[in-house]
Symmetry: C2
Subunit: 145 residues, 2 copies
């Protein structure tokens, strides 16, 4: 059993944020001893799931819905699985998007390295849009539509 302060330490999350999560219903079965929250391993795992679902782009109110499902036992296995499948696809798409962003950033790094070496952007303009060095051309094409 942990206090809110210990959980805060453990996850490097402010105490106020954990109280906020509790207020929003993210710990449906959290116990209390004379008003004081007592966090068990169940809540520790819940917080890991909260961080995961948050990182996947889910909003607090939807995380709350999920946490309510966990109190229904085996009746909600299918819904819970569906949620994780959907989140998995969303994160895969997000990673793809970031990969394209990364290609644009790499292109811009090359762009300014070249501009610094030349003192101007003239030579780059002559190479644009389809006479760039092969590896750079790939980045450029991937990033520009």
């Amino acid at each position: 059993m942990y206090t809110i302060g210990q959980i805060s330490e453990m996850f490097s999350i402010p105490v106020s944020t954990i109280r906020y999560y509790d207020k929003e219903g993210l710990f449906p079965d959290l116990e209390r001893q004379s008003g004081i929250r007592k966090f068990s391993e169940r809540e520790v795992e819940a917080l890991r799931v909260i961080e995961c679902l948050k990182a996947s782009g889910l909003e607090i109110r939807d995380i709350k819905r999920f946490m309510e499902w966990t109190t229904e036992g085996s009746a909600s296995y299918e819904r819970r699985k569906q949620l994780f499948e959907t989140r998995k696809e969303a994160v895969e798409e997000e990673i793809n998007q970031l990969q394209r962003t990364l290609d644009m950033l790499k292109f811009k790094c090359w762009y300014y390295e070249t501009a610094i070496a030349d003192g101007n952007e003239d030579r780059i303009y002559e190479m644009l849009p389809d006479r760039l060095p092969p590896d750079i051309q790939k980045l450029y094409d991937n990033a520009h539509h």
Copy 2:
């Protein structure tokens, strides 16, 4: 030359958002003809950069600073390159983080597939925390610190 409506179409961004970007100073040299904004290829490329920097996690006020640098010509090449290098590292870190999130999600998908097959979570609890199938163990370990 494009009107704000054409740019809105081109990028699938609301007109109000483009006006907001302009108000925030993201198009430092935007021309106007009797009050009406005229977007050139320069602004089209600027908007591509805005989307890229936004996706990299940069805030509007910092994107504004970058756009001001572009009006300084070759004097700011070094600063601009530095910014893209930093953003590149931030996005690489973000992708790593999302990869760990993805491993957690894949683990949870397996978890509920197994729970659905068994009708309960008993067998999973017996495998936790270090007797999981090898490929699943990898996901679990990667996701749990």
